[in-house]
Symmetry: C2
Subunit: 320 residues, 2 copies
């Protein structure tokens, strides 16, 4: 499937697999204030064909965290030991940074070997890139249970691209996602390790043992509530650190939620992208349907992918 398919009203809903996939919901970072979105997400994920279990401390609360550090670390390790088909975080927020030095990375990597697909975005980028740095294991940039499956119908419900794309990816049927990018990249064909996701969280790993030293990669990036000048500063840091020039391509998703300032005087996301393109030799594409927005694809982080552009149609493909 391609998320930019024209017939959005009737997406190809995948068949439910013969054997229902086990899916565990866990909360490794920010607190869930209410149980209702979690229950709604669990119900909808069951309807999509998953055997859903909710981790024992998914609703734990300690200040702004889903339980204290020990509680959240134990939840992570418990899910890894159970090795469900899908380990889907309920939400992001902030909290994984506190755990990075204590996570049993080989335990998480063994769960991946046993078939677990760890899924999420935002703060989960710390877990996913740490896992890549320490073990090379693949995880999945994709939805968060409460954000993407726990939204009430009044608030827009479940996105009709996000859900089937996630289900296909979890069933191993998804081999590529397509999107419209901007002009100027017709004929681009390259490949490399797909990595990145949330820019702020990714940057918070730079200089630490949890930073994945990927070169020749396809770097995907998104962020929320960050003014374009802050996005630019982070991307320039990656350039000055030698990271951007070392990639085959940078693919930008959504940068949402920021507010204009009277100081901007015309400076915006477009000006930011122009600045970055002026300093790196690496192609910087835009348009990836990924970020803190309802429509998001599910993509394999840490996996070798191909990036192909024809006209303004871009495809990220990983096959089998």
């Amino acid at each position: 499937m391609t998320p930019m398919a024209t017939d959005r009203a009737a997406p190809d809903l995948p068949a439910v697999p013969a054997e229902r996939s086990s899916l565990q919901l866990f909360t490794p970072a920010g607190v869930l204030l209410r149980a209702a979105p979690l229950k709604l997400a669990a119900k909808r994920l069951k309807a999509l064909g998953f055997e859903v279990q909710i981790d024992a401390s998914a609703l734990a609360k300690q200040q702004r965290f889903a339980g204290d550090d020990d509680t959240r670390l134990a939840a992570l390790h418990r899910v890894a030991q159970a090795a469900p088909s899908v380990a889907l975080a309920t939400r992001g927020g902030y909290g994984l940074t506190r755990l990075l030095d204590r996570i049993d990375w080989p335990l998480l990597a063994r769960s991946v070997e046993r078939g677990t697909r760890w899924v999420g975005h935002s703060d989960l980028t710390a877990l996913q890139m740490g896992l890549l740095a320490h073990t090379g294991a693949t995880s999945w940039a994709g939805p968060l249970a409460c954000d993407d499956f726990g939204r009430s119908d009044a608030d827009g419900g479940v996105d009709d691209i996000t859900a089937p794309c996630f289900v296909e990816a979890m069933n191993g049927e998804l081999e590529a996602v397509g999107f419209r990018t901007d002009a100027g990249f017709d004929g681009l064909e390259t490949q490399g390790t797909l990595w990145g996701a949330n820019l702020t969280v990714l940057l918070s790993l730079l200089g630490t043992p949890h930073w994945p030293k990927v070169s020749g990669g396809i770097l995907m990036l998104e962020d929320v509530n960050e003014h374009p000048y802050r996005v630019e500063r982070m991307l320039l840091q990656l350039q000055q650190a030698g990271v951007l020039d070392a990639q085959r391509a940078v693919v930008l998703g959504d940068f949402s939620g920021w507010r204009k300032s009277p100081l901007d005087r015309g400076y915006d996301l477009k000006a930011m992208v122009a600045c970055i393109r002026s300093v790196t030799r690496t192609p910087v594409l835009t348009g990836l349907p990924f970020g803190h927005v309802p429509t998001k694809v599910t993509l394999p982080l840490g996996r070798e992918v191909e990036l192909v552009v024809q006209g303004r149609d871009a495809l990220i493909a990983w096959g089998h």
Copy 2:
């Protein structure tokens, strides 16, 4: 002088030096929307005894920047070549990151050898720490002309600690600043290179050639508009990168302008400091009068300083 002196109404105003110090105002980063604060700052700095000059492009405008990159870079180099006694930035904002790879660091270091004191904070941290990284030259964490000397009397005017502390530091008369810190550090005596200042801007240098690799230092930090969880994430990054444990002390200034969230549930600056203290063996003091607040001391970055605590009275001293 100590900024926490009890007689705040009548600070010791330093004598104007026999030969008036030259002071150049320049705008290396964000645009100045209005000329009035600059004119007011210049007038007040003259009254404080400085021979004030305003750089030719101090009021240049290009989007959110004080002129395009070439214009701001030329201004920096022009000030360095003139080598005034004081090179005081008019404001911060964002913009120095774009220039870091192109700054003539030896030229700036030669101006320091000729006696120039480069002063500022916020975005200026990028310039000051880049200068330290590339040349080891000293600069001064202190006021910004428009923020600190360009505020109308209706908005509070000039702070009665910031101004005399700045003048004494520029005249070479200031040898120490004192402040009240929190309990638990009585008897602490240590020394090292003073460095840091704005946390976000400092972190934007990590992993790049512009990062000063200071160990055994006294790391001072402040920030504005950053929620404590974001401050915590940055400090944990410094810890995980081996930076905090390698310092003799961390001294926190003001962390102002952030907004509480319903998610916090009691998490605040105090909880953040407790978290950082639990992971690093380095003493983490609070209370330094420095940051995006009216009252700020002027301190020599890159210089060997002593940090001494008696009871809750802390002193940062550099002597001569």
